[in-house]
């Protein structure tokens, strides 16, 4: 079929994409992974025994990541490389590439020897056990 429908929203989207391209993605070759805020974004939460940190790192293998714990500082470093193609052309590159390094300060002392990390389906999950000294202790109340 050769019929062409007039799709006003598509036209608007096209326009807004063009504006986007002009003003934001000026094609200066800067990696957006390094440019936008703190990368990777982290969610950190805790329970009585552990701190947990989670980050979305799609396309990373464990070899691409370095995780360090020093005192109560957690450092995550990594690099993602763009797919290589000979010839052809890129119509859209929204995913970020390049190196990142992020250090956060944890609010409690942790036992660095017990830190473990998993990488599943692009989600990095780090478990950081608290030191015995900072774990909440339940005080038994004895009835006399």
């Amino acid at each position: 079929m050769l019929s062409t429908r007039w799709e006003p929203w598509t036209e608007l989207d096209r326009l807004s994409r063009e504006m986007d391209r002009l003003f934001h993605r000026g094609g200066n070759g800067q990696s957006s992974l390094a440019g936008a805020g703190s990368v990777p974004a982290l969610n950190v939460w805790e329970d009585d025994a552990n701190l947990y940190a989670e980050a979305e790192l799609p396309g990373f293998a464990f070899d691409d990541l370095n995780i360090y714990v020093l005192g109560n500082q957690l450092t995550i470093q990594g690099e993602r490389r763009p797919p290589q193609h000979e010839g052809g052309s890129w119509h859209r590159q929204e995913r970020g590439y390049g190196k990142f390094s992020r250090m956060i300060e944890l609010p409690t002392e942790i036992n660095a020897d017990g830190v473990s990390a998993e990488l599943n389906h692009g989600i990095l999950h780090i478990t950081l056990p608290k030191t015995e000294a900072v774990k909440p202790r339940r005080i038994e109340v004895k009835s006399t």
Partner: protein, 138 residues
């Protein structure tokens, strides 16, 4: 030439929260996000790369119908912010569609999901491929 593959969605390409989910419901429902995509065009095919962290194969639906390519990934886990010390991103499903303006051999579309990255191969149909014209010397 203009791009022949276009999104149907607004220009903000990630972390677009659907406002419908935030109002009216008592329970906070997980938002839906637009995954980021790279699109590459070669002579024989289009390749799309999409970041879908946390999506497993069984929870990913890719459909191609009437020139509309849709990707929908469900994310099982959630982060409700309980006991949070630092909350910098939200977790939710992924949804995005593209209008494909070029002839695609839809039978031969293939997709793979690895480490949270979706790779979609859209082979061009023969009539859309560039053709080299042989020039014969007389």
């Amino acid at each position: 030439m203009s791009t022949t593959m276009t999104t149907t969605s607004p220009s903000e390409t990630h972390s677009t929260n659907d406002p419908r989910f935030d109002s009216g419901t008592q329970k906070p429902m997980s938002p839906t996000f637009q995954p980021r995509f790279d699109i590459w065009e070669g002579d024989d095919e289009w390749i799309l790369y999409g970041d879908l962290p946390g999506v497993v194969c069984d929870d990913l639906v890719v459909t191609f119908e009437n020139r509309q390519l849709s990707v929908h990934g469900k994310v099982g886990r959630c982060f409700d912010g309980e006991n949070a010390l630092c909350s910098e991103y939200r977790v939710g499903d992924f949804q995005r569609s593209f209008t494909v303006g070029e002839a695609i051999n839809s039978e031969a579309i293939s997709a793979e999901l690895r480490d949270g990255v979706l790779t979609l191969h859209l082979p061009k149909s023969d009539r859309a491929k560039p053709r080299r014209i042989e020039v014969s010397a007389t």
